[in-house]
Amino acid sequence: MYKPRPGLVLHLFLSSSRVQKKRAFLTVASIAWGTLALLLLLAFGEGLKISISTASHGMGSNLAVLWPGTTSLTWQGLPAGRPIQPRIEDVALLRERIPNLVDVSGEIHQWNTVTRGDITTSERIKGVTHGFGEIRNHIPAPGGRFLNPMDEQLRRRVAFLGNKIAEKIFGKVNPLGQQFFIDKVPYTVIGVMMPKVSMGNYNGMDEDQIAIPITTFKAQFGNEKLGNLVVKPEQPEQMETVLKELNNVLGSRYGYNPEDKRVFGTWNTVETFKVTRNMLTGIQIFLGIIGALTLVIGGVGVANIMYAVVKERTKEIGIKMAMGARREWITGPIVLEGLVYTLIGGAAGVLMAVAVIFILDRIPTGDNEALNLLGKPTLSLSIGLISAAVLGLIGITAGYFPARRAASINPAETLHYE
């Protein structure tokens, strides 16, 4: 029974391959270029994916934002077209009634005059419940904190500032513990938001807003009707049932059909993020295909060189066949040679790509949001595996067809003549 002899194939490869330097260099360079293109495109795709996914989570992840609207269906004798607007106390009710909830938060917004010393400006003030900070990703900078249940319960005049508004009001002064005025009422700064990249927003950017306890807001401005509700389930897939439950609770309280889709305008970020992620994966696949096609051109170069090699070694192959070489001892070394060219080129391409990415990583992008959003090209394990697989496949294919040509050589024709 015949047993494969990889050692013999390796021996034949080592004794038969003769490197023509210029030709080998050009071939290896074309593979290196293709690999560089593939890796950079995939790395940019990955960087974009990471930064966009970070940015789309800037607002907080897996949440739904609801805007009160009007009913569109009649319900238990009540006509359609009634406005429905939940109140502050409904937040506690919803928190109690809806299972699988990280938290639900209410929001009321209003433009007001903000004063500190010589600075007077009109800003958006939002009264929020204490869970807002966690679910809406308001991370306090070191030393500060977000609003807590006690602030809400005691209607404290404390404020959590967006990082831009903090700079606008306080300049270079550390705002923590400082006072300022909202509509002539003094507030103490208890926290400033860490800067964040945020793609999705409603009612303006978080960095430009001042958050105060919703109870304080009601006390000062007299408004207790919620402008928004924000809900976050424990798991993204629980979103549907949580929203359904929310409508059941509020529907029975305010008298509307829980199936009425018009009562709340809903922005379900679980859904939108899914779309974004699919789109980004699509972009990455597209970039990968372009890169792989570039690499295929390199592979064609390798196949070309291997065809030339087979042609040059026709006689040598015929001699080996006459000496009793089996088919795979002829094809094996040729496939191996094509693969070696490809892998050397691939390794060179990887080194270049790593160098390019290293350099790009050190170029400051500053405040340019477009550049920040484009992200830093990032090499990941999956990119490495994909590239290695593509390279290996191209290398083997590039060697396989010339090797098949070699195996079809008729020794009788090559041996008798000079």
Binding site: M321, R326, E418
Partner: protein
Amino acid sequence: MTLKKLKYTNTDNTGREKEEVILIKDLTKSYDTGKVKVEALKGINLKINNGEMVAITGPSGSGKSTLMNLIGCLDTATSGSYQLRQEEVSVLNREKLAEIRNRRIGFIFQSFNLLPQITSYENVEMPLLFGGVAKRKRRERVHELLERVGLADRMEHKPTELSGGQMQRVAIARALAMEPDIILADEPTGNLDTSSGGDIMNLFHELWEQGHTVLVITHDPALARRTPRQVEIRDGLVTMDSEK
């Protein structure tokens, strides 16, 4: 030489029992070039016993090279039968034929056909490598063979550093490596000067005297006359066999 006497005994020239090495019956080979069909061999019948030395002669285009390709298992016949030591070869697949070329046939070509980039040693080693012979055995065998053809001091030389006669000796050593049933030489002196050619023919005679079966394909009548048996081929048929 006692050629005539040998011819009528039941033993070969070394006293071994005569045995058929090659038995060819009605062998034909035709090439279809698309437009024309060329019948290179039209029905060859040939029997060669072990220990024989035979010259196959004929003008160019007579079909002798085609016959050599078939005997050497480099090609397969269109019809007819070819038995190599009682084994029907015409039905074997590629890999089996490769094995037969490796173990049973030693080729010697007009243009030597040594691999130029490797040494004499490595050239002779090649069939042993294909035959799966262990490294130490290979070394012993290559040394023995190159000594036998008088090139013990040229082992590490590449073919380009050797004369034509020396290259052909390396090729002969290579042909003998696997102790084949037949040595198949195609115009072995065609590329050599008279003196080297004579040396090579003497070497073939020595091999024959040691009991090897030697087939020499040649168009040179002078060379053919130096072999005990001549078979002439013309137009794809055996037209003369000195044995008959």
